[in-house]
Amino acid sequence: MKILAPVSNFKEIIPLIKEGADEFYFGINLSPEINDITALNARPFKGMNLQTISGAQKVIQVVKDYKKKIYICFNNKIYSDQQYSLIIEILSNLKGLNGVIVVDIPLIQILKRNFSKLEIIVSTISHVFNSEAIDFYRQLGVERFTLSRNLYFPDILNLINKYKDYKFEIFIKNEDCFNINGLCNYTHNIWDTKKLSFCRLKERKCKFVSYNKKDQRPGNNLKLYWRRFPNRNCGVCFLYQLNKVIAPQRISLKFAGREYSLEQKLKDTRFIRKSLSLLNSIRNGSDYRKEVKNLFEEIYGFSCQNKCCYAIKS
């Protein structure tokens, strides 16, 4: 399994390679002020994106010097005609890219027509949840599939085993959206100075309204209500089971956090790389989880918070 790491400038690449990253992804936005509408990718925040084509080319060059792979994100859900033109212009000026991470169907068609050598990766925002959806996107020319973090563990294994010649990306760390990516229609960088997404607004009052008129429960059921918003963002213990699928080498383990500090990215890469190494020596799932938790504490300096996704809560 390969580690797919986020980068936001070229200086991060060599340290990340030394720590064990195999592949990289980045975003670009030429405008300094971006929001959900104007961004070219799904992360409309400063610090997450490169701002010049020359900066992007430098990133690609460093990655190529080390014979690694690099992908660009054009995974916003909506584009205007001007944004399509801008994407074409950017891609025409970048040499050495391996592929593009996309959501938008017309953009997939544009890429197939104009940039046939680029690998097309369907983003998690396309919410590929089932085998027919994989077939659908494959017909459009998609070669690699990012599976949703919201999928249950057996569903992921089934899909990967069913399509044993296809390549997959799996979010392994830091992706913690409450909703299904792509089926959430909130803005994330528009409203106020804190740029809070609607789902992150803490100040709210809630009342349970029963369909049964005789049911007179007290008004506030915040505890039950907040169960809808669990914080689960790590699937590293899941590697033990994932390693058992057919040809695990076609899987890229992606971690989110383009905006994170290099120190944080290095820790994440080290944690995933060392957890992968443990697979060679440990032959039992519960021992593996125990060792991964020890590793977590050693690398991050605090104990594992059990924020497990992929149905592996232990």
């Binding site: 909506i78 938008d104 996107y137 229609n185 909130y186 607004l201 709210r204 349970f208 209500y225």
Partner: protein
């Protein structure tokens, strides 16, 4: 400007009495049935048979709603598609379901009508838009993936003749192309959905206790003076105001779909 609008109603419960009650209040000719947001709520074959028994061959047209699905949900849909009569309108909210419909349609055996569901219409549905005084922002938020001419062409090439829209506060700014029609859902505007659900005893299992059938959460956001409605794994806001005839015409709306309950 008078538009010739087809009126439809979504029913959650299979009851002729309920339908008759609504019929007294509004004159509708189409019934929507099914689930848009959760594969656990896909009706089973017996419910579909009951639905067809109650409404097929009456004067109602029928539309079947489908949600985002895993392979488990696809299997359920496959069983239902075998039962649904030829030519039934199916609203798909997952491109995998679209692929499945195409399989059933191959050779003309089913000839299901394909309708793009609102979950596949990318459009910001952040309710805070109602509080903004920024006209430019409101305008920007009218964008959707239907603005792309190539997307509308893609729908037509793939014989998707209708698109389902939410009645968002800000509305839309696309222009519909010839051959494509749209429906407008009201009053519940879908905002977000998840695999997480407040009622789930164990998040790690796909099983479900159907707690969402007992009620919903009405949530108030004082900062923006907004109410939302959380039903199971999904969130909605309410917009009862139907856009002007001019807007409806521009967006190609020729059907209004009323949801008397939270879907």
């Amino acid at each position: 400007m008078l538009l010739n609008l087809e009126k439809a109603i979504y029913i959650k419960r299979l009851s002729l009495k309920v339908v008759r009650n609504y019929e007294k209040k509004m004159n509708f000719s189409r019934i929507y049935f099914g689930s848009e947001f959760c594969e656990n709520l896909i009706p089973d074959s017996s419910e579909i048979k009951k639905f067809l028994g109650l409404f097929q061959d009456k004067r109602f047209n029928l539309s079947f709603l489908t949600p985002w699905v895993t392979d488990r949900g696809l299997k359920k849909l496959e069983d239902i598609f075998k039962i649904l009569p030829k030519g039934t309108e199916i609203v798909f909210n997952d491109w995998g379901t679209f692929n499945l419909i195409n399989k059933f349609n191959r050779g003309g055996s089913k000839n299901f009508k394909r309708v793009l569901g609102r979950l596949l219409v990318f459009h910001y549905r952040d309710p805070r838009v109602i509080a903004t005084k920024n006209g430019k922002l409101k305008e920007d938020l009218q964008n959707s993936n239907l603005n792309a001419e190539n997307f509308q062409k893609f729908l037509q090439v793939n014989k998707i003749s209708r698109v389902e829209l939410d009645n968002t506060y800000q509305g839309y700014n696309f222009k519909i192309y010839k051959g494509l029609k749209t429906s407008l859902y009201y009053p519940f505007v879908f905002m977000a959905t998840a695999t997480n659900c407040a009622y789930k005893k164990n998040f790690d299992l796909p099983d479900c206790s159907f707690g969402c059938k007992k009620g919903f959460f009405k949530v108030y956001f004082p900062k923006y003076n907004i109410y939302t409605y959380d039903q199971g794994n999904s969130q909605f806001y309410v917009n009862n105001k139907i856009p002007s005839s001019k807007s409806l015409k521009l967006w190609g709306v020729n059907r209004l779909v009323f949801f008397p309950e939270i879907p």
